[in-house]
Symmetry: C2
Subunit: 350 residues, 2 copies
């Protein structure tokens, strides 16, 4: 096919452009090393709402509306929104889609949602089905804890390997034509184009410990990255930065081992590779156990930190890989292991 | 944009083809009026598995693998699978994707999933990103009851307006090129092409009764259908059959009222319009309260009944509209109303 190379990679020949982006994060994330990069830091993780779920939904809505504004567009210019989150029945996405009121496609990829939604959005724009679409992903520590672990009031303890669900939402507008908005272009002149998308397979190596999700997702992340290199003929040398999200501290170490096993140029990998789950918090002072996770983790690191760095010319070509653990709240009780998945997007500046 | 008309409708100019399809249904569905059309009827709704969730996952896997075989293809020819179900964290989809092992995109649209997955698949094929993709949706009465209502053992009673979640899975292979398989083509010669897809908006009219989901979804279904007509310039006269799924008995009556209010040709609508939720069971003898629902309801009626009728030349042009109620298991307790959504696909035979 014209727009497919290798086994798993789509080529976006019309190079869809990221015309606007926004990262909204919670209080803890707003005290981390990337705090200067985020558009909005909540003063209070309830965001003025009376439930955590409504707070998360409002975070997503805010990130979407800001991304649209920064793209120099209005809601009426957005033809489709593609969003997802961790909540059952995509609660944050559905309710923010209700309030925003544009045609809506719901995606579920656990923490892999940000690159999944960017990938599907790029297909729609590149295939000339829409001029402007918006994609987003969110998570909230308090909604995720009570859904996947225990209500906060329970004061549950977690093992050091457990990851910390980020309270964050990231959104990006993906367009056919470059941005005309002064807000994004001045004083930051670079445009970001999406050139490739690699769709991941489910990889399950039999890991059953849901407090070891980074380790459970690593094989999928590495598989997708290696397939991306094979399909495109690229190597780590072609990228200024390769970011996975959210393998955390343990997962990142395993990933580096697996990259070495696969024969990648490790000198380069040690320079260019990092994981969003290790970037969002101060490891020592913020006590996030295994590192950050949740759809919002990679979503906010990409839209907050990375895209700003790219617009400023610090990085020119990036491979971004959100990773998801597709276990359910029931499956571990039924003796199932954790299916991992990862989707990759290659982006570059003009 | 080249492949968009009006506000919400994509045009598939390369006309992706449905090359294979399969419907697997449960015991109750296998006693209904459409029983002759289904590929597989379970002898026992456990499907030989020790949990309902594994049974549902196996149903989805079986429907996908059969659809691939009927398309004259093998697993290795399928470039992406796009599936969804009602279970938290897309349990059936994730575990069947793990077993099938092809690149996987997870979708959540509640009961609107079948047309959503066909729509996204058509974009991928029409945009020349893949030659063959498979899409599917499933639901299971016993998994849905315990997740959304009460465990079966509780013997919970439901009001007459509550709908009955179908135990069913439907899958379709969507391809660039017509099918070469003898199994599908002989003795049934017609090919089915996908020509348009209309992405729905969330419509929420404030309905809060989760035992009235048909009524909650009707406004979204009618909105999508009217937008489809406006975008394409088509009318009910252009279709031999228009199927929504799954508004049920109450929802279908309301839909007809709203179609009349909108000024559609009701003589034609009474002839061509029906709802999958009213077609899957015998209303009197099977005691399904408000009618069928669940992703598997429209998925199995489309892939089992409709596509067979189209291949046999009984219907030449159809508009199919899966409808979803995007409420969560938490949102009603937080005072939220039910967001509805519906996505439409126009299909026609050669």
């Amino acid at each position: 096919m014209k727009n497919k190379i290798g086994k798993q990679t789509f080529v976006f020949r019309n190079k869809p452009v990221i015309t606007g982006e926004c990262a909204v994060v919670g209080t803890k994330e707003g005290q981390g090393p990337l705090k200067e990069y985020f558009d909005t830091i909540l003063e209070d993780d309830t965001y003025g709402e009376n439930t955590w779920e409504k707070a998360e939904s409002r975070m997503m809505e805010n990130s979407i509306m800001t991304a649209i504004r920064k793209a120099g567009l209005e809601k009426k210019n957005i033809e489709v929104m593609l969003t997802g989150d961790l909540l059952n029945q995509l609660m944050s996405s559905s309710f923010s889609a209700r309030d925003i009121g544009v045609p809506f496609i719901g995606l579920y990829g656990a923490c892999s949602t940000m690159t999944l939604s960017m990938l599907m959005s790029s297909i729609i724009v590149d295939g000339e089905f829409a001029e402007n679409v918006v994609c987003a992903a969110s998570s909230h520590y308090c909604t995720a804890e009570r859904q996947f672990r225990m209500p906060l009031e329970h004061g549950n303890q977690k093992p050091p390997s457990a990851q910390w669900t980020a309270t964050a939402s990231g959104a990006a507008v993906i367009s056919k034509n470059p941005c005309k908005s002064n807000e994004t272009l001045i004083p930051i002149p670079k445009e970001i184009f999406i050139t490739h998308g690699t769709v991941g397979k489910i990889i399950d190596t039999g890991m059953k410990d849901s407090n070891q999700m980074g380790a459970a997702m690593v094989p999928a992340a590495v598989d997708t990255i290696l397939n991306h290199f094979e399909d495109t003929g690229r190597t780590p040398d072609d990228y200024d930065i390769i970011l996975t999200g959210d393998l955390g501290y343990i997962g990142k170490e395993i990933a580096l081992d697996l990259f070495a096993d696969a024969g990648l140029n490790m000198k380069k990998m040690h320079l260019c590779y990092d994981d969003c789950g290790t970037m969002l918090y101060y490891r020592e002072s913020e006590d996030v156990h295994g590192g950050g996770s949740g759809c919002g983790c990679s979503a906010s690191v990409f839209t907050g930190y990375l895209f700003k760095k790219m617009r400023a010319g610090i990085f020119n070509r990036a491979l971004i890989v959100s990773t998801g653990a597709m276990l359910s709240t029931i499956s571990p009780f039924q003796g199932e292991s954790i299916p991992g998945i990862a989707h990759a997007i290659a982006i570059e500046t003009s």
